[in-house]
Symmetry: C2
Subunit: 306 residues, 2 copies
């Protein structure tokens, strides 16, 4: 039976590219039939990666069957995975997030989690010399994943390993990192096709802080103005999204990649309190700038207070 | 703060040796202050390993403090770890068991789980060339862990990697595997000092099968007769151990390492049913021989039926 390789439910670049990389490795190097699949529509940057490197868009699936062999990448959180995940035959997990607990396997399997910025960097280490056999598209996907997750090395999640791997891949591929990253970020910043609710859910994770359930949404962009121009309707949409998703509040951080800061939308007193307690800022209007804040994992979540 | 490295609560050879190996690696290679600790008294084979390779017996601890840095080896099961484990600062997990869920980390950490017979084999791969710097005792502990977990390559959990690593270590150390393993197994088989309840709990894990809670105990020995001579008092002790530990039934499998079979004690009709349904045997007395059964992980647990 073909192994399905997938990331989380809101496929960003790493969750789209890493399944493609790993399925190639399983098929071509390990001789195990595998195919990448997605748990949702890829975001605009991931779609750019697929076009640029002429990679087939993986099939989108909504659940996995009982006993189906799967490899999970870029998450270990059951909430970000299909409902039936613990009835599937989980064959491997490759991830760079904190262990949240909740996934179970029937027997011992290969699990590799490392505190690197990007799943693709871990795969680069695991694949080793065999990567020489990979077509350009696989190496291009790897490079794109790393530049995306590190925001071209600006994110504080960036490690020396992520950087070294990206530079080696770029050199081999003859890609100029600044030019290519600019095209990636332009693609990511083109959010005109998305509704407010879609924007709020695009790159979003739920966290509980002092009993309050937050949907913490991040939009990384080189054009924050195009998002902030929509702030009134985005704040209105937060109420519905929170209710539909069972959260108390949506927090939207608009990350300005080039200026290395985030703007938090402040629709009400709860968010005002969160902003002031968590980031030591004073809020006067319905937005607040958070200098230097780029990473949900490293800077937002660890600091959230109510 | 010194990182405490430990395995599970019933320290067998791998759970005693692997913390020693990894603490050496962290201290000497990674430059991070670390010390091995134990969550209980090592078994007789683990004690033999410590004596034979002149390794200090690690301190025994009963819990970990909040925020204390720890590395967990040879388990990922919170039930086999100190009560405060999820409040500790878990820095790494190296294991070869199925993922059971329940451990959580504050941030992304290094987790390496592989379907190999022994934690020490995974460490051998992770340490790589740096192992050349290890003293004989560290390499000796590695060899002992692998021979123990594979029952000198007899267990069906044994992989080619475990075997290759053990042979390489034995050659480098000038150790004859058959002679050394015989001494290890003789040490493990010397259970005269243990009470019946201690024997039942020595290498024991709890599993729920169809709503029944079983404490599945395994005694690996080259002298099954010395255990089976005590079967009446062992069966009597099962009642108390099950009650004290909140289990419905203790199952004791006496694994005869040299003859590659297990004897299951059959104190009542429940265990008779379990034996017949799980292993396709016919039970006539208060013990039954299960030919070829050596591994709880691979052969006992996956087959248990009520």
């Amino acid at each position: 039976m073909t192994i399905q390789v997938f990331g989380h439910k809101s496929p960003d670049t790493d969750s789209t590219g890493s399944p493609i990389i790993w399925a190639w490795y399983l098929n071509q190097i390990k001789g195990e039939a595998a195919k990448p699949v997605l748990l949702g529509e890829p975001n605009t940057e991931a779609a750019f990666m697929l076009r640029h490197w002429e990679l087939d868009k993986p099939e989108i699936i909504s659940d996995v069957s009982e006993g189906a062999p799967v490899v999970i990448v870029d998450t270990n959180n059951p909430a970000e995975l299909p409902a039936g995940i613990n009835k599937a035959d989980i064959r491997g997990i490759i991830d760079h997030h904190k262990l949240v607990g909740g996934l179970e396997t029937k027997g011992p399997i290969e699990i590799r989690i490392e505190p690197l910025a990007c799943t693709a960097t871990i795969m680069w280490k695991m694949i080793g010399k065999d990567l020489a056999q990979a077509p350009r598209g696989i190496k291009g996907a790897m490079l794109t994943c790393i530049l995306s997750d590190t925001l071209e090395f600006r994110s504080p999640t960036t490690t020396q390993e992520d950087k070294a791997v990206a530079h080696a891949l770029a050199e081999e591929l003859g890609v100029s990192i600044p030019d290519y990253a600019a095209r990636m970020f332009a693609a990511k910043s083109d959010v005109s096709a998305f509704s407010d609710a879609e924007l709020l859910r695009m790159d979003s994770k739920e966290y509980t802080v002092d009993g309050k359930e937050f949907r913490v949404s991040v939009l990384e962009t080189t054009a924050p103005k195009t998002v902030l121009d929509r702030k009134d309707s985005l704040m209105a949409a937060m109420v519905d999204v929170a209710r539909e998703d069972g959260a108390d509040q949506v927090l939207l951080f608009v990350v300005d990649i080039l200026n290395e800061q985030a703007t938090l939308l402040v629709p009400n007193d709860l968010v005002k309190t969160v902003a002031e307690k968590s980031f030591g800022v004073t809020v006067t209007g319905d937005t607040v700038i958070l200098p230097g804040i780029m990473s949900r994992k490293k800077q937002i979540i660890p600091n959230l207070k109510v």
